[in-house]
């Protein structure tokens, strides 16, 4: 039977899959950094080569930013379903480098985990689909369904050029189902299908006061300190109970009741989660549990602060500028455009006198709620059960994959969110890792999914 042969091929070739993944992880394709542009392009070229080796037609498609790598196989014919697999080959910046146990772009295995920037977000999860395709091709000479792989290089900087790309290529990319593996399972051994994603509105606030840094003695007390102004603005986002104070912010948020039942089924320990974060205590919006805070409640988080002298020792300077990066995670049915209006209006309203405050949106993405009925989700559930030996749970996802709702809107097909990360995987943080076991089982699940989609 094909399934057995395909699974056997995966098991036999896993060491080579891993070596290839290590090559992929070794390329520092940091999309946020202009000085990494050549590395991003190198990662795209490498990925296109691997797609070709797996049996796809592959092309590097230019955009206004980093390119899209497009892989295609249409040999199942016009009557067979077409599945579009999405992932991204760009990664977050690796800083602060000194907090990595091993260098971020020198993949290393420790304790059954692959440590590297991008291991789980998203190179490992994208690459396992390429290997699943290879397993079918080398075993049976074909795929059970038509396949399109869309790998973008700008997910970590807001996917600005992907929607124009999708819109420009909507006919070519037409699909019956979309599969995305860029999320996590709720616990080791518990396969998970995503029920929702949070959206995002990411802002930068720049406060300007004096024309240059001033002596804090000679001038202190006589001008507004931009860092103080920024602190006042930043402190205004929440009350002491963790509730966001931006007027109108919660207007479009649904009551959490409908997810409470699902959340109750998810194996989850508040204390294990706290340990995973390393925080002295959990803290969040009053009246909600941790999974509710992560899955069905929006946030407003400071991502960065910078002002004045931050080096060793003391410098008595009154800073001329202060900067904050702040992002809101949004839940259905919040609209990023509306949130940006509210956020910007709020910052302008609370800005103290004596400084000039500039606030601008750096990027945004819509929240998403899965269509949990239909053949795509049934196929996904069977594929996951095949690989992991148990039925998947449904889970929200605190992170954002803004492109998911765009895919549904532009291509008109439902998305299956089938992620192979794990809690504590340090995506966006030092010592990012992906479980070796999940890379293996994820490859089996991805291969099984292609078969299940044909069988529906």
């Amino acid at each position: 039977m094909d399934t057995n042969r395909i699974d056997a091929y995966i098991d036999e070739n896993l060491p080579r899959f891993r070596e290839e993944l290590f090559e992929f992880l070794g390329i520092p394709s940091v999309s946020a950094r202009s000085e990494r542009k050549a590395d991003v392009r190198r990662a795209a070229a490498w990925l296109a080569d691997r797609m070709r080796a797996a049996g796809l037609d592959a092309a590097i498609e230019e955009t206004a930013g980093h390119p899209v790598v497009l892989g295609e196989w249409r040999g199942a014919g016009p009557d067979a379903p077409t599945v579009l697999i999405y992932g991204h080959y760009d990664v977050q910046p690796a800083e602060p480098l000194e907090l990595w146990t091993s260098p971020p772009f020198e993949p290393t295995i420790r304790d059954g985990r692959i440590y590297a920037r991008g291991a789980v977000d998203d190179k490992g999860q994208l690459f396992l689909h390429v290997k699943a395709i290879e397993a079918h091709m080398r075993t049976t000479g074909r795929l059970p369904v038509n396949v399109v792989v869309v790998a973008e290089g700008e997910e970590e900087v807001g996917s600005e050029n992907l929607v124009p790309f999708l819109e420009a290529n909507a006919a070519r990319l037409r699909a019956d189902a979309i599969v995305v593996s860029d999320s996590s399972m709720v616990a080791p051994g518990v396969p998970t299908i995503g029920a929702s994603l949070r959206g995002i509105s990411y802002f930068q606030i720049d406060v300007r006061g004096p024309a240059q840094d001033l002596h804090s003695g000679s001038y202190g007390g006589a001008v507004m300190n931009p860092a103080t102004a920024l602190a006042r603005i930043t402190a205004s986002f929440h009350d002491a109970d963790g509730r966001i104070q931006i007027p109108g912010f919660y207007d479009d948020v649904r009551p959490p009741e409908e997810m409470r039942e699902q959340i109750a089924r998810v194996p989850f320990s508040e204390e294990a989660f706290r340990e995973e974060t390393g925080s002295p205590a959990l803290f969040g919006e009053k009246g909600f549990g941790t999974l509710e805070r992560l899955w069905v409640r929006p946030t407003c988080e400071v991502n960065g602060l910078l002002s004045g002298y931050t080096g060793e020792g003391s410098k008595t300077v009154l800073p001329s500028t202060a900067m904050a990066k702040v992002s809101c995670r949004l839940v259905p049915d919040q609209d990023p455009a509306r949130i940006a209006e509210l956020f910007i209006a709020h910052v302008r309203r609370v800005a103290p006198p004596g400084v000039v405050v500039d606030v601008r949106e750096l990027h945004s993405g819509k929240p998403w709620r899965a269509r949990l009925e239909g053949p795509l989700h049934e196929a996904g559930a069977r594929a996951l059960e095949h690989a992991f030996g148990r039925a998947p749970v449904l889970a929200g996802e605190g992170g954002s994959i803004p492109i998911v709702s765009d895919f549904e809107r532009v291509l008109g097909a439902p998305v299956l969110l089938m992620g192979f990360g794990l809690p504590g995987e340090n995506a966006h943080a030092p010592d990012e890792w992906m479980s070796l076991e999940n890379f293996e089982k994820g490859t089996h699940a991805a291969a099984a999914l292609l078969s299940e989609l044909a069988a529906r």
Copy 2:
């Protein structure tokens, strides 16, 4: 007459004085930076050489930190008065380097100003005393009074080792008068005697939350964000009217009435001051004018903020730590030790849950009020009138020279604050400068002061 010959010597030798000062300014003696330790020592050795060339006995006196350069001449005999001249040869860090018009350690003259880090704070003001001594020595073969020059290398990092040095050498350093030139005139052409100095309490606040940076989507909303916690703490220091909200902070502050009369005599334009700062508007504690805010009211200013991702573009990180440097400028009769207790207690009280907050004092210095009667101040007033052609005004000083009150306490002699900086001189900021005219007139005033002290 000696005075005329001494003034003539200064005028004739000014070009060489300036060249020597440029050598001094070229040494990056940044006391806050451990990697500049050798440069600090090089500046000390250079200064000792120049003191010797001026006719002083000079020695480099070791301390637990950067050394003190001690110059002495006791030839006026035990019945003549002894004047101790204090200055510092260390400088503030020069960062941000990109904001300097010319490199900070390559002194340059533009528009009658010497631009360099340390030009006015304090190498230029210290060095003019050395040149005044040289002028006496080369002209008359002696000084009118006994002279001790104490030049420290740790003023910009809190003068930690100077008081122990003074205490250990109190007998040797015994003086009848102490002269400090490390402050500013209120306006060009208006010689100024300092009536008061603000003290300082400098703190660092470190907030720790998660064990490492977290993904702001996967974890945002479920733990306290250290940057948000820091913003809340920092925003708590003032109310919207600029009044400090630390309980007990103003308890020992005198009402400003006694300085209001002096302040009314000082030529001062609020608009010119605003332009000098480059701020869009002046702002400070409600109910006080700018000079009151600078001279007789305490402050609480943020000197630096750092948390999370501060580079180009956007990174969706929930930071593990956040840091603020905050310093309070104190007025008579506030006590830095008491302020430190109040500040630390306040920070602990307002710190939100879910993070660990560490607050520690980095350094402190007492405020000071001049004894404005007596022969020292009369001599100072005559010397300034001789050099500038008009009587000096009395002025407060917003900055701190913590060592001033220590000198009075340990050595029991009054301090004359006779500064030659000017508004807008950018001490502690990029493009620091000293007026060439003030370097020249300051040298004349310093020379005249030695004569006036003998004549009293």
